[in-house]
């Protein structure tokens, strides 16, 4: 059917404007949103670059696992803090690019949107790290801890930075901070710091992981609270 005929049909079938539409929708309560649906929607809004970058990193890691075991371990340790930086800055994207007002007026609160994105990206990164740890020889739990500690340190640092420095400066500072943690981790492996990876220090790593996880959670809560106070 051509455009002209369709327009004519619309005129023929035209109805008088409804009078009570706005009043009706003001009184209607929206259906409660399920968390699973909300996470699904927010996952779609995470930029493709973030996913592509993560896929490239883990692709390289899996490739290296076939040839160089130590290179794999070093690469994963180096990459995890950078992924943390990417995840935190991606979650706070709306604030970095001045979309605060728009997001705060949307159906889902800015807090829940950011929390959803952090959860999605954090879960994917950690699960990917657990998967990569399978390819590193040695005790699985030890490897997981060696990967988690720099990751959680970077998460804590980046959350602190984005809370203090919202905007593009925060992205640069996060990247620099994560890069610093990566270099420290690599330096400890390739330099004279290999002793910290001995099994007798396992409980220190465990304590560090738990402490950093708690600090990251606390910092995350502070960041979310600071979002609410933006327009107070």
């Amino acid at each position: 059917m051509d455009q002209k005929m369709q327009e004519e049909l619309k005129k023929i079938y035209a109805a008088p404007a409804p009078a009570g539409k706005r009043a009706f929708f003001r009184t209607v309560q929206p259906q409660p949103v399920r968390i699973r649906y909300m996470l699904w929607i927010q996952a779609a809004y995470i930029s493709k670059c973030t996913w592509i970058l993560a896929a490239v990193f883990f692709g390289i890691i899996l490739f290296l696992s076939r040839y160089y075991e130590i290179a794999l371990f070093v690469t994963v340790i180096a990459v995890m803090p950078l992924l943390a930086a990417g995840s935190v800055t991606e979650s706070m994207r709306s604030f970095t690019y001045g979309m605060r007002e728009l997001e705060m007026s949307a159906r889902f609160s800015a807090k829940s949107v950011i929390l959803a994105r952090m959860c999605i990206l954090g879960t994917v990164n950690i699960l990917s790290a657990f998967f990569c740890a399978l390819f590193v020889q040695g005790k699985y739990m030890c490897t997981v801890l060696y990967l988690l500690v720099p990751y959680l340190a970077a998460v804590y640092l980046c959350l602190l930075i984005v809370r203090i420095m919202p905007g593009r400066d925060g992205i640069y500072a996060c990247t620099a901070g994560s890069f610093g943690i990566s270099m420290l981790a690599i330096g400890s492996i390739l330099g004279k710091g290999m002793w910290i990876y001995e099994e007798r220090h396992l409980y220190v790593w465990l304590a560090a992981a738990v402490l950093l996880a708690c600090m990251s959670l606390k910092e995350g809560r502070r960041t979310l609270r600071s979002i609410e106070s933006c327009f107070v």
């Binding site: 369709q6 004519e8 049909l9 023929i12 079938y13 109805a15 409804p18 009706f24 259906q31």
Partner: protein
């Protein structure tokens, strides 16, 4: 999702107005459609459109039976005829008149399909769900209706 449903309000209202030809009744029924939808919708994954139109069709049928208002079906035809005769007939384009005359030659169901597909822009998939036929059957039906319409227009 509420925003998407608000956009569909006008389409559902237009459908109810076409079926009932009464402004107030059409608006009441439209609001009833949405209230029933909010009550009964099972999940966000379900496509809302076929469900909304199914509720609207059933409510319109119930309204006919309740008030025995068969004359409402003829109201649309009367309006078409009125547009072609009467004072403003001369100002109406020849093409529009030909289209209106062709619409009069269609059955009620065929006019309903025209409204849903080409005016309310409901997809073939959703239409097939509303009328409980296969997509292929709906596609063939629409093609048949369009051909009939064009044949009548060409005289």
């Amino acid at each position: 999702m509420l925003i998407e449903l608000e956009e569909q309000y006008d389409c559902i209202y237009r459908y109810c107005y076409y079926r009932l030809h009464h402004v107030q009744m059409a608006e009441d029924l439209t609001q009833e459609v949405f209230l029933r939808y909010f009550e009964k919708a099972r999940s966000e994954n379900e496509r809302p459109l076929p469900y909304l139109y199914t509720i609207a069709r059933n409510l319109c049928i119930d309204e006919f039976r309740r008030k025995k208002t068969e004359y409402m079906q003829d109201s649309f035809e009367k309006e078409l005829v009125q547009d072609m005769t009467g004072e403003h007939a001369q100002s109406v384009l020849v093409d529009t008149m030909a289209l209106k005359q062709a619409l009069l030659a269609l059955t009620e169901h065929e006019r309903e399909l025209i409204l849903l597909r080409y005016v309310n822009e409901v997809s073939v998939a959703d239409l097939s769900e509303i009328f409980d036929v296969s997509r292929f059957a709906m596609y063939r039906k629409l093609k048949g209706v369009l051909k009939k319409l064009k044949n009548h227009m060409q005289g």
